[in-house]
């Protein structure tokens, strides 16, 4: 069990070491979905939910695999759990909110390959977080991811209306914005220790 306080774990995951802007995790949906604010918010929510479930499952998987001394099965177990959770979220969304489901389109199943979720499971294992720390970490990471997504979407919507040279339009502009956002988030370093 790591010594870090819950508050510092949360702040670290959400701001200081934001999953997207500091660890480069979850970039595919980040650039794919952040063009519009609405989809960005929904994607943020879906990812946060999957992160929470994945975090709890990763903790339990670790307990199980360490008990049977099979650490080499961790990677494959995490990813299978994540894939199943995403299937679950897909089915739930289709039942509960069909318009959202259609709006998210291909990006919903793509949450499976979202590095951020697997990264969450791996980091929390490496840092030896206890159960409550892991949940706080997942909450912080999800909120941080959603925050970065929403910020990015806001900027990109404005950028769409601006006079951007053809060469820079699209991904290159998004990358530059991401770089500046990342520098901005560096200002949070040292917070909440």
């Amino acid at each position: 069990m790591s010594d870090a306080s819950h508050w510092s774990v949360f702040l670290n995951a959400a701001l200081v070491n934001n999953f997207v802007l500091a660890y480069f995790l979850g970039l595919c949906p980040f650039f794919g979905v952040s063009a519009r604010l609405e989809t960005a918010v929904r994607m943020g929510g879906a990812v946060s939910f999957v992160m929470l479930v994945a975090s709890v499952c990763a903790y339990l998987i670790n307990l199980l695999l360490d008990a049977v001394n099979a650490p080499y099965l961790k990677i494959i177990s995490y990813i299978l759990v994540i894939a199943s959770t995403v299937q679950l979220v897909e089915m739930l969304m289709r039942k509960l909110s069909p318009p959202t489901f259609r709006a998210m389109g291909i990006y919903l199943p793509l949450i499976t390959t979202n590095c951020a979720i697997l990264g969450l499971a791996l980091f929390q294992t490496n840092r030896g977080y206890g159960f409550t720390q892991a949940i706080t970490y997942a909450l912080g990471a999800g909120i941080g991811f959603a925050l970065a997504l929403v910020l990015m979407a806001g900027v990109r919507e404005k950028l769409d209306l601006a006079n951007v040279p053809n060469l820079v339009k699209g991904t290159a502009a998004a990358l530059i914005v991401a770089g500046i956002l990342s520098m901005g988030f560096m200002g949070f370093a040292g917070l909440g220790r």
Partner: protein, 213 residues
């Protein structure tokens, strides 16, 4: 995407520039930016990804008639995850230092959209031989792209290349380049260059077509 016959060498070459995974297809970004802060990390990550691409491409292609449609994604994920676990242990056996500096990012090769994408879009539908070429081409293209970013970031951010000091001490290193923001900027810079080259090539082609009626 292609309905006509594609020459076998083209299967390999297309991954290098025309369909470069990082700069054209914009896939596999996460590792491209995360571990490219030094050239050696970029090279190791590129080679590890190429290995997984190749092995999983071969496996998926060999088993493509054996895997039913509904079980596709799960099977691909299982296969890819196994090879990633294998490469993780292989790297640890080769060098603990390298494994430490790459951290969890070797394990993250599993969710590299590139590998799943190639398995789904190509290896599951093509012969073994073509899949090998495709995987190799994409892998080399990916490694080269990663190296471009890594070399720029290391030279500007640390004044060295592969750990060997290149620039004199008087050079004030651009520390931002080895930080996450630097990754975004370096990639943006190369992307701009690639776009510019492609645009000029497209313009030249258009003018050539208009010249000949």
């Amino acid at each position: 995407m292609l309905g006509k016959e594609v020459s076998t060498t083209d299967e390999f070459v297309k991954g290098l520039w025309r369909e470069n995974p990082v700069f054209i297809q914009v896939l596999g970004l996460c590792p491209a930016l995360a571990v490219s802060n030094t050239a050696i990390n970029a090279l190791t990550m590129g080679l590890a990804t190429t290995f997984v691409l190749l092995m999983s491409g071969m496996s998926v292609s060999a088993l493509r008639n054996f895997i039913p449609r509904e079980a596709r994604i799960v099977s691909f994920i299982c296969i890819i995850a196994s090879f990633v676990t294998a490469v993780d242990y292989l790297i640890q056996a080769i060098s603990i230092e390298l494994s430490r500096s790459l951290g969890a990012f070797i394990a993250l090769i599993v969710v590299n959209c590139l590998i799943l994408g190639r398995a789904e879009a190509f290896a599951s539908k093509n012969t073994f031989g073509r899949s090998v070429l495709d995987a190799l081409g994409m892998g080399v293209g990916f490694t080269v792209a990663l190296l471009w970013i890594g070399v720029v970031r290391e030279i500007l951010g640390s004044g060295s290349l592969f750990g060997v000091a290149l620039l004199p001490d008087t050079f004030q290193t651009w520390t931002v380049m080895v930080l996450p923001s630097g990754g975004f900027f370096a990639m943006a810079m190369w992307l701009l260059l690639v776009n510019w080259v492609n645009e000029r090539a497209a313009d030249a082609e258009k003018r050539a077509q208009e010249a000949t009626p």
